[in-house]
Homo-oligomer: 427 residues x 2
Amino acid sequence: MVPPGLQLSSISFSRCGERLAPPAIADLMAKALETPGLLSLAAGFTDTATLPVEALRAAYENLASRPGPPEFLQYGTNQGRPLLRALLARRLAGQERMPEAGLSPERLFIVNGSQQALALASQVLCDPGDIVLVEEPTYFVYLDVLRGLGVRPVSLPLDSSNRIDPEGVEKLLWELERSGNLPRIKAVYLVSYFANPSSRTLGEEEKRAVAEILARRGLRLPIIEDAAYRELYYRSPPVSPSSLNLETFAGFPRLYLGTLTKPFATGLKIGFGYCTSREWLDRILYLKGQHDFGSSNFAQALLEEILANGAFEQHLVRLRANYERKMRALNEVLLEENLPGLGWRWEVPEGGLYLWLRGPDGLDTRSGKPFCRRCLARGVLYVPGDLCFGDRLETRYLRLSFGVLSPDDLREAARRFVAAAREASAG
Amino acid sequence: MVPPGLQLSSISFSRCGERLAPPAIADLMAKALETPGLLSLAAGFTDTATLPVEALRAAYENLASRPGPPEFLQYGTNQGRPLLRALLARRLAGQERMPEAGLSPERLFIVNGSQQALALASQVLCDPGDIVLVEEPTYFVYLDVLRGLGVRPVSLPLDSSNRIDPEGVEKLLWELERSGNLPRIKAVYLVSYFANPSSRTLGEEEKRAVAEILARRGLRLPIIEDAAYRELYYRSPPVSPSSLNLETFAGFPRLYLGTLTKPFATGLKIGFGYCTSREWLDRILYLKGQHDFGSSNFAQALLEEILANGAFEQHLVRLRANYERKMRALNEVLLEENLPGLGWRWEVPEGGLYLWLRGPDGLDTRSGKPFCRRCLARGVLYVPGDLCFGDRLETRYLRLSFGVLSPDDLREAARRFVAAAREASAG
């Protein structure tokens, strides 16, 4: 019996409400807060020191000094500012080496960070019980989105060199067909440039293979291509075109996602999507209209200025050099302290914000396990790799972020990390 | 047969995706764009001339000149900036005449305009086929949200003086019980201050009556109280406390929604929610985390400054006088031109951005009908009232917004509107 005065909740949640759970990293975030002096290699934040205070001041002054009423502080439109959309479409066409007018601003829309487009686009596609094909590893927040929708992530198999394995994909589809699940596949999610968490860039041939195998079965499924880190190369832009510009994908509805948040000012939280399918785009926009009728017009107006006056490009030049320097600071200490000698492996990335490490045989990087506890005791934190696998338990990997810490802090964090690895190795 | 080259869509949308439709006002927005010289009394935009360019410049300079790294351009947290939440909780407690610390910042969260909270809070509560009790008329975008979720809006009946009718509510619940639908009611949605579209403020006794009737049946349902226009009174603040501060609602989970968008700068698009139920709040935040991990930290930091340094309050003083002046400009011409003589009725609002007019017997204000066409032909547009009724056809009402047009344009728009009404009256 419930004692009087104690109120039982009268809330009956929806199936969506019942499915929702704390984010995969909630546990880690709590630990980070509880640990004084912690150096977090887990947080996916960007570099604070280089945030563009002056560029934004100048953009504001330009907007404020324009004759006429300050429309940049008024509501905008649901799809986003036309000039910003035009600038982004032209920029994207340039990256794809397409003609300047090769991509239509009508197909481009502005969101509150590309994450919003992921959530909306998936909700209009997926019912509970459906399947989305993902990479392994993949972006763990998207796995949260899928779980929230009751959707099963199924991983595209890799070959021994960590490339998507065409034979494996064939086999996977055959198995899904045999179990009657082929019609439940609603989309393919690819993180194609300097991916979170692997820092890998998908090769043109990998993307093409996926499209060809699907097309042979008549499965021209919606493709969600997440290019959030494309701008953050260190030396040279990635050569692989996106699915927007690959003939093999011609019959596929494609949603390409980019962002102005990671490569410029995280606090503005503005991303964009480019959708080749009018009907998919319409539904995404209808749902967005119900959520917010459009992203902050003010943030969009500032970014329009920044893109138009060259400040965006100037900022990127600084940022790329800065992230490369930080990656090297972290990487060098891991090598100097001989982490490979302890059985750890990783590839040195050519862009992005992460090192993706595979630990020695038998290591378990999961939260709460001895290795993670050792790291916390030494004042360093990482993202356990198991969170990034959609449909199998894989406990040897982890992600180190070098976005936010200074080079000195990164070196210290690396020393702490290797010390913990050494302890673990000694048993 | 489909000719080769013509690609049939291969997208199979979710049930949500299939339900989504263009917003109720899409049709009107298209007409507004097609009609040169149109004066729109339909758009719910705010006054552009008074937008706070200088206050925002000062806030930016303050943020930029603080010692230390520019954290205001970095990512924030999912729930929102702690200081902004504390300032808003204190402000709300003041409006409720509660002790300064009467509302906890832990229960307050920041969203991309209060619309986002409406969408997220409803999604975690409602499955297709569920019911939400609404007022009549009610906020038409919320009706879009409900339709998107497959939820049936059911209106709380009014008495002859347009107040919520306790006997009618009793009868409604009895009918829902008889048809087995009582358990499908998931929430009650109240727009309680200078409501969109009616400009009505709910009386304390009306709110209490709803709570008492529900409580007697043991239905302590989630209450969503939308207070988006509470700050926009003209002369004196509304006296009716919110459900957060009414003893009768003690056992009800309540979500109170406010915004900094309408009463300050629409372009920033920042709203807030205050939720008395931890479990409801958690689910809203989990879902928000999947959509954006928190609203723009930059916009929040600016508003924190604005609230803390008094600029918000100063702006409101100007804004209230301005909206009252604009309301009067519109209202006076409607009276001078003797619209009441043509059988039209409305109440003069004491706050908000709308006049809610009832047309003469037999008038049909719907889009596409002769009266609407006459108005467009004369270069004026309104929001047809039928869009604001959840579960019955009601075609005599319409909403006139005076938020965005200048007083002179409002006078001209009013003359055009009355001319159309006169034509309609003459047959």
